[in-house]
């Protein structure tokens, strides 16, 4: 279960390239392209921001209500975790 207190962190060793402002992530032999909000979420998964913080970052960047983007952010982070691109660093943030 992904709660707002969990802290996602980009997995080390995953190859990342910035191409024309977007991110291309190497997953085995495939490439995952992250644009716009997807890129922002991945960039924000720095091992310090909680999920709730990332929700606020996305909401602020797109002038949206945090409640509206919360589910999408959580699902996307779960998806990235499932692909081995993001891992859960700690249950409670280290501040």
């Amino acid at each position: 279960m992904n709660t707002g207190h969990r802290v996602p962190r980009r997995v080390l060793g995953v190859r990342v390239r910035r191409v024309s402002g977007d991110l291309v992530i190497g997953i085995d032999t495939d490439a995952l392209e992250l644009t716009d909000v997807a890129r922002l979420i991945y960039e924000s998964a720095d091992g310090r921001n909680r999920v709730a913080d990332i929700v606020d970052i996305v909401a602020a960047a797109y002038d949206a209500d945090p409640a509206e983007v919360s589910v999408d952010v959580r699902e996307f982070l779960d998806d990235l975790a499932g692909r081995g691109v993001v891992e859960w660093a700690v249950e409670e943030p280290f501040r």
Binding site: L12, R15, V16, R17, R18, V19, S20, L23
Partner: protein, 272 residues
Amino acid sequence: MSERTGIAVPTEMQHPTDWLNPLRERNLLPDDTVAAFVVGSVARGWENARSDFDIYVVTTEEVRTESYSAALMSLDPPRVRNEVFFENDRRWEITYWLERQFDQMLAKISWEKYTGEVFAGEILTPREETSLARLVHCRPLLGSEWIEAKCELLNRSAFRSIVVVRSLGLADDAAEDALGQLEAGHLESAVLSARRALGHAVDSLLESAGEYGSHMPKWRPNRFRAAAPELLSFESYWVLETMRDYDPADPRSWVRSVLTICQDIAMRVETA
């Protein structure tokens, strides 16, 4: 060849003739010279009293002097010739390039080559890369228009992307080594691999700002100051480079923090 007799005193060489006259006196400036320029630390103002004077002379015909040596190149002809002499306790090294050799190097860094199947790290040899990079910060003595034209071609080429992608790839390889070594408990080796990853990642950051020369890591701090990247302050970089936060009792923490910085750099360095 004369012997170096002691520590040289820094020389004020302000005018091109200060550089060219010692060459002319030794008959080392051919009539078909199209360009001559100072390269290396002296050209960048980073020299010290022990620094060599490195000068590239570009000609249309191959130079043949009595005492030259030659360095092998993957070009046609497959060599550049060098002359060395000493004056005022300074070692002067003159490298003779053919104009068409520069053209061949520039042809290697086309966008077609970059987007082709050749690995970015194999497009240029280290010496070719260094030689092209030296054009950017050279000190022209003769043929300023030729130099400007070649710099313009370099700027329009895929050179920057080639070296950035090469350095990022090497950083990734070293990071993978470090992580594998951490997992296997080879902590000291992991530390060395992380240091190597950091060097390549920082090189990519500097190269993206047009500060080339990653084959000469001794100048990385100078290049860092010149590039002044927003992503990483010099002070933070120097803490990493000098391992100030390294705790021998907890190498894993240092390795992971360094690899995180490397990934942050890769995420932000633009590759065309």
